[in-house]
């Protein structure tokens, strides 16, 4: 596996990275390199220039303020999985990050790289969509943010512009009475999610006041399931199963391990189990 020839540049700041992006056509940013380099080794990606942003400390770190958590794009999966801030305010994101690959992958891979690469089997995207997170981008012309639900556009396609860097994601902290869970059905070869189900429910006075379910792996982008039928119920197993069975994917993806139909089926089962786990955590 030998990549085609490329030039390597290391950016010392976000601004430098942005100008390097402008100067070099078809250049690629490299964060942890754990998706980019495999693509280059298979010669599926042949960027003439790789811009290493791996050392930009300004893009690393996790904080909480004003009811939302902020995670810098260069924060590694390992740091996310072990974060006290997230454990207190948004444990489901840490839970999902802990399911990624193995220790080496988690030590190198970053949340920004993960969602910018947008593999349909990634663990992070369904959680961000579930949380209603926003993705923050910077370009020479300024900054903008986009809702996670709009960020993922298609297979390996996102809303990141050619001249943009993803700087951080922001997600509302989970309030009292809210439980959330991420359950993964792992692909035995790749370790990615065949299906990843992210669910959250809010319970007040024994009644459900809000519920969400987003399933990754069945479609090119995370699939939100309408589980509003749960609101007002006591979240019985039957009610949960009925709600999760609403998962629908028009053109489910499949491979030699799991067909599209099967993924949809597992999505329903894991959706149900994730909702039940979220319910148990909410109380």
């Amino acid at each position: 596996m030998y990549p085609a020839q490329f030039d390597y540049r290391r950016a010392g700041s976000v601004d430098e990275a942005l100008s390097l992006l402008q100067e070099n056509e078809d250049a690629k940013l490299m964060a942890g390199g754990h998706s980019l380099i495999p693509m280059m080794k298979l010669r599926l990606a042949q960027p003439p220039v790789v811009i290493d942003i791996g050392r930009l400390n300004e893009l690393k770190g996790i904080s909480e303020a004003g009811g939302s958590v902020r995670v810098g794009s260069l924060t590694t999966h390992a740091d996310i999985a072990a974060s006290d801030v997230l454990a207190a305010h948004c444990p489901v994101l840490a839970e999902a990050a802990g399911h990624i690959g193995d220790a080496q992958v988690r030590n190198r891979g970053t949340i920004g790289g993960n969602i910018a690469h947008a593999d349909p089997g990634s663990d992070i995207p369904p959680v961000l969509v579930l949380l209603g997170a926003s993705v923050h981008l910077q370009s020479p012309s300024g900054t903008r943010s986009v809702a996670a639900g709009d960020f993922f556009q298609d297979l390996l396609m996102t809303d990141v512009g050619e001249d943009e860097i993803l700087t951080h994601v922001e997600a509302p902290a989970l309030g009292a009475g809210t439980g959330a869970a991420y359950l993964k059905f792992e692909h035995p070869a790749s370790g990615y999610a065949v299906v990843g189900a992210a669910a959250a429910v809010t319970v007040q006075g024994g009644r459900c006041t809000g519920a969400g379910l987003v399933v990754g792996g069945v479609s090119a982008t995370p699939t939100a399931v309408d589980v509003s039928s749960l609101v007002g119920t006591d979240l019985s197993d039957d009610a949960i199963a009925a709600a999760a069975s609403g998962l629908d994917a028009e053109d489910p993806i499949g491979d030699i391990f799991a067909s599209g139909d099967y993924r949809v089926h597992v999505g329903k089962v894991y959706g149900k189990r994730a909702l039940a786990a979220a319910r148990d955590r909410a109380s």
């Binding site: 596996m1 990549p3 035995p188 070869a189 790749s190 370790g191 491979d255 030699i256 391990f257 089962v269």
Partner: protein
């Protein structure tokens, strides 16, 4: 002297390997070394209209681009031979580089040599091959259908061979009068070996001497030298040295002689420079000989008491596009001969069709034929347990060859030398707490939800293919003995030159234990040299779990010769008669006079000084032996697998895995356990995850580790191991071999467990690998 045989001394190989100091082929560098990249067919079957190498040659730093024309121009044999011939075997030529037709994705069509490997790869992409794609057939069953695309004109109907063993009529009679019969159509899934180290070669030709040194990933350097010189490069055997440095696993895939290694040799000859090539993981998957790939119909007949009366097996075995080194032997003499399992079966007939397909060749892979045979027998025994109502334990017990029946002649050529099958089964049942498991299973069945299943595999294995005269009569183009040269140095330390060729097994540790035990010296005083045709006398290498039984026995033979000679020297020095001398704990002693003794070192020194020495003896204290075993060895055991099946998704969790193996005497228990662990991982991998999948056009869809699932540590559970010990009666160590047992036994144990769990759903068979989707579909159909 503390006992060293049978103790778990640490592997002396490991400090270098785990600190990154092991030198593998790809770590080696040579002056003026160039790099090769091989241009491979993207089609499973195509005619080559034209190859334009000019764009590649034009890249600065590219040294040569060779095609089949250059092989022809070099005037060398230029082929990759098959080393096992069956009657009427079709042996179409396998050219080193495809000349006019490519027959599988990955078939070599050209090679580029450049100053660095990146450049070589870039240039390879610029070699323009004009292909005319042709229809291809990748599936072993489809290849036998009328009108299937032909892989070779010389093999009508894609049949490479048609082979049978046993007698048909008695089997037919057994079925005609059977009280119970069970039958099964099964696939034994195609596997890709996946040694951690890909194949690699560094060939260094020197025109000034006419000599070539080839460092390569080899399990048998002398065999590689023979095939490489005779059939591929046409060099004199004595001018070629093959060295296997550290080799990072092989599982059979590094036994075989491949086109790529020969191509790199040719490049070095052409350029008069060292040339290196290391397969990428993609190339490994496309070109390493794969394993298994059978389609089988099989049936078992039993009488009213549940005693087996007949076994019938009909198998189509894929050979791939070309016959790899030992390919024809694997689904025949290593498969049909094992079909009696641990059972007294009065009538067996097995028919095998070897089938060419437009895929990578298929050859020996860990277990080679025996896992396929065990899978057939043990799946049928499971079904027989159900059909007779006896259950899996009793139906096996009732049919075991009884301990007093050994030597036991099977109906399929093999004569089992020894065995005692009941105790291994008893112990396995005890380890898992069988009765309790059955009650847990019953409770789950009542409550619904996740189901528990218990699966058995009582396997027989045949290691150390032998003796040479017999394997020769069966078609082997090689002997199956092993060699050892043991040299005692003047200071009584020892160097062993063994024809076995370790590639991860730990021969340096275990062989030093053998010598230390026999000579009564410290294992640290023994050095073990292997894997170099210039250092070591001709040897057959390491495969088929043969190294301890055959290679170890050769070492013992040499040590015995040394002791005999030492006795003569000591007798001379002690002024005693050699017949009166004993050798014990590192000393030669006169029997009955304990004070008249000489240490090994005293005798060794005198052997080299020869100052005070018997007239009729040559100086020196070393001995070379070639040990040709009297028979195979026959390890056996019972494995029990317990699984939990999530019927809602079809996914399977391993709960328990207990293995009781009888591998004869054990040299190093830790190494034996390690071999079992590895074999079990591979066998469980075959049962649950691994699958080489070609699509209808012959593209390998599982060509990367993103799609081909090799088991990872978190997929497995701690294995529970125990042993019984029935020593091999015909070799001096009483050892049998353990390298493949895990991979042979476990697929059937796992599948039987899953099928057992799903019995309430009326499921009697699911083909491997038991992916969740397949299980879920079976449950829901």
């Amino acid at each position: 002297m503390a006992r060293v045989l049978g103790t778990s001394i640490k592997r002396r190989e490991d400090p270098a390997l785990i600190t990154g100091r092991g030198k593998y082929t790809d770590d080696l560098k040579a002056e003026r070394m160039a790099h090769a990249a091989i241009v491979r067919s993207p089609y499973a079957h195509a005619r080559i209209r034209d190859i334009d190498t000019s764009a590649a040659e034009a890249l600065p730093g590219v040294l040569a681009v060779l095609t089949a024309r250059d092989v022809a121009a070099a005037g060398i044999p230029g082929v990759v031979p098959v080393g096992w011939l069956l009657p009427d075997l079709k042996t179409p030529a396998h050219p080193m580089i495809a000349a006019d037709t490519v027959r599988h994705v990955g078939d070599a069509v050209a090679v580029v040599v450049a100053e660095d490997r990146y450049l070589a790869r870039d240039a390879a992409d610029r070699v323009a091959v004009d292909y005319e794609p042709l229809d291809a057939v990748a599936d072993v069953v489809a290849a036998l259908e009328d009108g299937a695309p032909a892989v070779h004109e010389e093999a009508p109907g894609n049949v490479a061979f048609d082979w049978e063993i046993g007698e048909r009529e008695p089997v037919d009679a057994a079925f005609a009068s059977a009280a119970h019969t069970v039958e099964l159509d099964l696939r034994n899934n195609r596997l890709i070996p996946h040694a951690i180290e890909p194949r690699a070669v560094l060939a260094s030709f020197d025109s000034s001497t006419g000599e070539m040194t080839i460092h390569m990933t080899s399990q048998n350097p002398h065999v590689h030298r023979l095939l490489m010189t005779l059939a591929s490069l046409g060099m004199p055997e004595h001018k070629v040295r093959i060295v296997a440095p550290e080799v990072g696993g092989g599982f059979g895939s590094k036994i075989h002689h491949y086109a790529d290694e020969a191509i790199v040799g040719l490049c070095s000859m052409k350029l008069d420079r060292p040339v290196k090539w290391t397969a990428t993981r993609t190339e490994t998957n496309l070109t390493d000989a794969h394993g298994r790939d059978h389609s089988t119909h099989c049936a078992l007949a039993l009488d009213a008491d549940g005693r087996i009366t007949g076994l019938r097996v009909d198998t189509a075995a894929a050979m791939g596009a070309y016959l790899s080194t030992f390919a024809p032997a694997v689904p025949t003499y290593l498969y049909g001969t094992l079909l009696s399992g641990q059972y007294d079966i009065p009538a067996i007939h097995c028919h095998v069709t070897g089938v060419f397909t437009h895929t990578a060749p298929v050859d020996a892979y860990r277990g080679a034929g025996r896992p396929e045979a065990t899978y057939v027998v043990e799946r049928l025994l499971h079904l027989a347990g159900e059909a007779t109502g006896l259950g899996p334990v009793e139906v096996r017990r009732r049919n075991f060859v009884s301990p007093d029946a050994f030597p036991y002649q099977t109906q399929v050529a093999l004569a089992y030398d020894s065995g005692n099958y009941g105790p291994a089964m008893d112990r396995a049942l005890e380890m898992v707490g069988y009765d309790d498991l059955r009650s847990q299973q019953a409770a789950r069945r009542d409550n619904g939800g996740k189901q528990i299943g218990i699966g058995f595999s009582s396997y027989i294995e045949a290691c150390g293919l032998a003796p040479s005269a017999v394997v020769g009569s069966l078609g082997a183009q090689a002997g199956q003995w092993e060699s050892a040269d043991v040299r005692v140095h003047p200071t009584a330390s020892v160097t062993v030159y063994t024809g076995s060729s370790s590639h991860g097994q730990g021969h340096e540790t275990t062989f030093s234990q053998i010598v230390a035990d026999r000579l009564g010296i410290d294992p640290e005083a023994v050095e073990v040299i292997h894997g170099d045709t210039d250092l070591v006398q001709f040897g057959m290498g390491t495969y088929g779990s043969r190294s301890a039984a055959v290679g170890g026995s050769a070492i013992v033979k040499s040590v015995e010769k040394i002791i005999e000679k030492g006795k003569k020297i000591a007798a001379h020095l002690l002024e005693a008669s050699a017949e009166d001398l004993e050798y014990e704990d590192g000393s030669f002693r006169v029997a009955g006079s304990p004070d008249r003794a000489l240490a090994l070192g005293d005798v060794a020194l005198q052997a080299y000084l020869a100052h005070n020495y018997p007239d009729d003896l040559e100086p020196g204290l070393s001995a070379t032996s070639f040990y040709d075993p009297a028979n195979f060895t026959y390890p056996f055991g019972t494995h029990v697998c317990v699984v939990e099946v999530d019927t809602e998704t079809g996914s399977i969790d391993l709960l328990r895995y207990a293995a009781v193996d009888d591998v004869g005497n054990v040299i190093n228990p830790m190494i034996v356990d390690g071999q079992l662990h590895g074999g079990l991982a591979q066998g469980i991998g075959q049962a649950l995850w691994e699958n080489a999948v070609y699509d209808d056009s012959g593209q390998l869809v599982s060509g990367s580790l993103m799609d081909y699932a090799v088991p990872k540590i978190h997929n497995l559970i701690p294995f529970e191991l125990d042993r019984t010990t029935t020593p091999c009666p015909h070799n001096p160590l009483g050892v049998k071999g353990v390298g493949e047992a895990g991979a042979i036994a476990s697929p059937a144990a796992v599948v039987n467990a899953v099928v057992d769990a799903l019995a309430p759903f009326g499921i009697s068979h699911i083909d491997m690998p038991l992916t969740p989707e397949k299980v879920w579909r079976a449950v829901n159909s």
